[in-house]
Amino acid sequence: MLHLVSGQALFSSCSPKVCVVGSGPGGFYTAQHLIKARPDVELDIYERLPVPFGLVRFGVAPDHPEVKNVINTFTQTAKHSRCNFYGNVNVGRDVTINELKEAYHAVVLSYGAEGNRTMGVPGEDLAGVYAAKDFVGWYNGLPNCRELNPDLSCETAVILGQGNVALDVARILLAPISMLKSTDITQPALEALAQSQVRRVLIVGRRGPLQIACTIKEIREMVNLPGTKPEMLPADFEGISEVLKDVPRPRKRLTELMLKTALETPGEKELERRKSASRSWGFRFFRSPVEVLAEPRTNKTSAIRLAVNRLEGSGADAQAVLTGEVEDVTCGLVISSIGYRSLLIDPGLPFDSRKAIIPNSMGRIQHTPGVYCSGWVKTGPTGVIATTMNNSFDTARSMMEDMDSGALDVSAVKSGSQSITALLRGRGVKPVTFADWEKIDSVETKKGEAEGKPREKLLSVEEMLQVAQT
């Protein structure tokens, strides 16, 4: 895309300096778009961990390696002459947003959503209850989650939520170890799953089949998961096929797949396969968590109490309304997958705590000129990588408009990373460069090779820094 630069910026004696906070898809796609669109922009990406790529590394399931191919395009961006990566820098603690605003013409916040939406029910803190974000972080090697040690010694696991994260968790809990051991799942998680006694996973949603939030690919993966059989309740699907003809194709195909799995009598081959399956999974609809119940002696999770709902309205706007009935489901593992949540990293920024996003208009943060946002901290924690990509390009375009119109003044000389790295040095913070990350990458890849895995991730910040900086 050829971008016409306004006369003022073209003949400015300094180049616009922009910094991006967060090196996941939000940060990298914003950086990529800015570098491509303006031949003079210099870009620094700050990342809290020593390793880049955010949820591409820590969120995408180990058995979805193709989704991680975006790392290649991010790597190209990071290695561009006008881009620099600074890992191991905690914005908010090691350096403030104000200090970044001083040093750069513009700051882009793309630090995602590292918190959880809580269920807000009694028993949520019991042993055996985990947030999906932490469970995923555990099997994906997020340093903060390595001590999770989830208890997998029970037969039934209940997952609250029916988005793609919930489906990922179900699939990782039930996948054959032979499938998992050639992925980049962490070694401790692989060993724990090899010993797991979980044989049945229920994926529970407040509303009905037509409101399910996951996508068809993930459902198809469950239906085809070797060694497992589906366990649905036909009653949950009453009246569904009648309304399908007017529904848009994506929702229609997804629902048809569920209907087929729940209602159709399987052929001989499938019947045989199901007979020999030792693990099962199913969706449960119209249920909301009310309480997690504990076994009195051990205080470990023994069941979950669910409220029975009915639907008011239809389609995407249907509401779940309590009927007053409850139902207890025996289980030893409860995983709540009801959404991630952004946190506020600097009290000087506006924050909408209801939506848990930074209030903004097309990426321009409200009441804060020169500061922008992209990714989940801008729009909320939903969407696949492509969604974030578009969202980031959008923010980049807003910034470019502002540079062109003069709303963002890029004529003053700014010190950029020169002053920030000096500041960090003074505070004893040693940033990890992209070349340093490549040392970590190389160690992980080599370790993985020895085990037939694409990589064996380093699991602690200390180990990462040791490899990066010696």
């Binding site: 895309m1 975006v70 290649n72 578009n390």
Partner: protein, 160 residues
Amino acid sequence: MGLVTALRCLKPRCWSRTVTAAWSGWKGGERSFTTGKQLRSDNKVTVNFINRDGDRITVKGSPGESLLDVVINEDLDFDGFGACEGTLACSTCHLIFDEEMYKKLGPVTDEEMDMLDLAYGLTDTSRLGCQICLSKSLEGMVARVPESVADIRQTKDGSS
């Protein structure tokens, strides 16, 4: 671009079909590679892309290449196109065809449909570029690159 091109050559869906056939032939003692032939220019297929600004870009590709291959090889600058590098893990190589051309493109697998279902601005004549393999019968095809964001501010004169 080099790295991405290299990776594409390793695993394009169209080539994997031809290469698998060729390899199994080779294992049995016969060779049926057709690579040599495809380098001749008279075998090229003309493809017209309509980009997001409405401009027509005409390029040539070789039979067996996917439309994603063509976009990459010809350095066509479509923002965010082909994020997953042709592995059916995204919908960013979404292209729209006219009815007649769409019918010529052949059947769509469930796998492709599943990802296509996630594309913004999905139509009845949409396909994923990484799954369309060129052949002489598609000579002169027109493929439109649809908008990928809800907020359309890509007018050339800078007005929003």
